[in-house]
Subunit: 171 residues, 8 copies
């Protein structure tokens, strides 16, 4: 694989079940990435260094997931000017704590927050950011959007053909 | 001013008091932008066209603000592959409705959400995204971060010198 | 079946398990309807056209379901003056996000929101709306209300007869 | 004025400041209405009778507002098959209690809920319901929608002309 | 059994699993009660009459359970001056909707609300109310309190003897 | 005044502005009461003794108010079998913390909770409890209910006569 | 075992599954503790005495767990000046009620609250408090912190070596 | 002043109005402290160093305040084994975001959280922690508790003497 330009950091390896969706999106778009476990609270030094060296190591965007008092994305944002995408993980309180901990950043230090357990969208947002200067990726995103619509429309067709009662049996 | 590369859309002109902070950040970084009022619910056609033509008109990132059932950012994201930054506006329920309406997007259509009334961070995030392919902006961000730290440290020095009681009187 | 006068739109086919309750109510009242999958975010063009052509195609009321940042009902309401009934689907946060995204619409663009996963009530509300100009439907609604009361009263009778301990065993 | 076809019920006369917006909309559309104070908890008999006689008195739709444990809309819905539009009033807890009390109705008894303090939308929804069998009203709604869009677009033009700084001063 | 002095009303027979705890408490204290299903929304007339005739039929206290937009307790309180004990049932949103619908009553019409699914406490509260004029019941309550404390203390003793690891295995 | 049969305890004297409504209701019904400041956290011994001696001192019902981690009502309930009415005071978080701290009592120890800042209803509930064995009070409650309805109906009449626009000016 | 210096109190023995984590931490650090069941509401006298005698019996810190209207920690704090660590237990409402009941204490009576079901952190916080005057414990805490970081880093290494797909299969 | 043993860190100098209460408590108890502004997000390096050197500089306890995505307390806890007391500041959402960001820490890294804007309790908790190994401070805490009770009791006496109506006028 090429040199990674996206870093995926998980506050806990228990996030992987969710966060693998981000990895899969990046693979689908052919974007080189690295993925690791790194906790703002349990490995603060590594998190600190990761953020400080990220740009010089060639990373363009960092995706960070955490649950509870989800500080990982924010603590990375404190130490780099790269765009940080935060993924709040549902650990307690249906994910409300992680959501607020990730998103309610003070003026001056943004985190681009996606929905609770929104790993797929985190991956896509990273691709969208890269695509602002990569025409090829931008075209792939356009295709992706069309395929997504086609997928919904195919379901609509099937539903029309089968009727809702039959369709319901096969969900 | 140069041709805009950032678009700021407000769901209502009552958002301007908050959203002018995004505009100021972009001016501070010398990033050309346009700003307009455009409602997902009251001017859906214009919102639709805005998103569909944004990329071809040269925009790189769109910042969208809305309160309540805040659909503007999401409806733009549905019609373009540019990164969309959503700013939930506190209109009712302390902004909780806007926050959830902006952030909880379905898989496939991300919105990069910042905090409630987080216009300044929306501007900075837009700059960070541009900076992934603009070394000069990246350097400016680094300087900005240093100045921000210096500002806090100056306050710390003043607090130490004056003592908390005197400092408190002048807040 | 007759030409549909009610349209049921689901933001995702995973809503069908809930939304089939709306379809069943309409069948029970002999009201012709159509049901399809159509996402405000993944198939915005189709949603757009659906709303714009709904009245001319003979629809009188539209029922729309969505979870999370539930924009479907609102985006339809932006493009038609037909009454839109919104059904917030419980996907995350117990449905609180969908509830607020559906209901907190800005002045000028109403959505008639029913409870979380309230598909049955959405169907009944559509019938009530039609019944404002259809005496026959109004009479059916009156009968329905009586049957509903009779059902509760039958349970009350059974409970009285059996005693709560025996009744409890058969729940 | 003609014989009323819309009834506006307020749980308390302190709701009038909010609910007058519904009355104004109905006047704007030339829809005859009546407005009164009637509490589900303090005048249950009158509320009971109001609902039971509403249809025979010629009402087509009822709009009901209440704050706190907002039962008025639901208690009317229990006693009539007319469409009931519920307006949750912000009295305590930012209106969250009224919202949930109005909207979370059991299967069989729908209330068409609009947003917190959403009186204007309640009025418009009532007109939309009437318009399902009144072509003239439907046309007026279409005009209303266009004017609303024109209003937003005029603001957009003014903002473009003046620039955001000047515009901000005049808000 | 004697003539009932407590009435237990359930908004739905699905509440019985929870509400049987109230019945058991009343049996334990030898208090005669009746229990029935009666919905504020689906059988409003019966609920209405129940409240209006409760005092004359000899009831002293009414316990009412409901989920969602839980109006039963409030609608009874509107039609009688007997103390009404409300039990919010967890149906949606972890019971938060029922809790607020039951408790946030307007000035003038109180409902004595217990915790979510708090049927046992509803039964005890009813006994406490009766005990304000029934010395025998008051004494039974004192014994009950002692037994409850003894039960906790016995567990404490067992825990001390066994150690927490062994105790844990038998929970 | 006669020997008090109702005790009003406030966790803080800052509650008095709210709680005086309870006192006024009791005066209106001619029920003798005592009112004091007593904190579960700052004067636990006095709270303890108050509860332990309440019944022997002739009290029949205790009303307790507190904000935040509102333990006063619960701690009294732990030490007496008299009915305890809890009034959650809005101090922080719109009163949500006090509401949950007061209401979510464990099985075995009920608190009869009224709405946030619901002092008037606390007073009325206390009267309702006394009225279960005091025919005269029960009659007064019936009159009170009628007067309350009459008050609402008078407003309805005035609103009808004046029209909503004139009425609105005088609110 | 040595004379206990930490007391663990559980409001219910059903907390033990969670609270045993606190006990394990204390064992790991070689800190003598006692653990018991003691309810603020069901055994108020024992709770009262426990707090009043804790310091003289040699306890330095008390850890208290409770769910719902979680008063145990606060009621202990009212009767001793020892540091009280509160553990909100998830019983209802995802633990939000216990969290607010434990944490929102009035000025003058602090409770050191940890996260929902945060028994392990309660144990560690107790050790940290002891370590302010126990160099040996402080050193153990430093080692513990290093081991914790090492554990995360080992997972990071494994993830890097295996790749995320293989790692995911073994979670 | 003596060498500080308590450090008070504020994420923003706008916290000072609240946090000065902590400082005042420490002065009242004669505990030497230092107070500074230091942001986890804007001055991460200083926050990092502060935590790493705190113990060696003689600090025993750190009090940290922050609003929104309140990471300061948690980021300090990541880098020291001293007890960290977190004070959630009400900046947005009534302080709910800060509360959850401060309290919901992952297992292994505790933060002793006090209530929203609970600076006074943070100061007292710090004193309680020091008092676990300082008999003099422990005695002072006991006196403080007595004075606090005396203050409440004096108010109770005044209320009894004046009656609630007169007392109310002077609040």
């Amino acid at each position: 694989m090429n040199k990674p330009i996206i870093g995926i950091l998980m506050g806990s390896d228990s996030d992987l079940k969710v966060m693998s969706e981000a990895a899969k999106v990046l693979e689908e778009f052919g974007v080189a990435f690295e993925i690791t476990v790194c906790s703002a609270h349990r490995t603060p030094d590594r998190a600190h260094k990761y953020a400080l060296t990220a740009a010089s190591r060639g990373l363009k965007v960092i995706i960070a997931s955490a649950g509870g008092a989800a500080h990982l994305a924010g603590s990375l944002a404190a130490n780099t000017t790269l765009p940080i995408i935060g993924v709040p993980i549902n650990w307690k309180l249906e994910g409300l704590d992680a959501l607020l901990s990730t998103m309610q950043m003070p003026p001056g230090v943004p985190v681009a927050t996606v929905g609770i357990d929104g790993a797929k969208n985190a991956g896509l947002l990273a691709v969208q950011i890269l695509a602002t200067s990569d025409k090829k990726l931008a075209n792939k995103l356009t295709s992706y959007k069309k395929q997504m619509a086609a997928g919904v429309n195919a379901k609509a067709k099937k539903l029309k053909k089968e009727g809702y009662k039959k369709y319901l049996k096969n969900i």
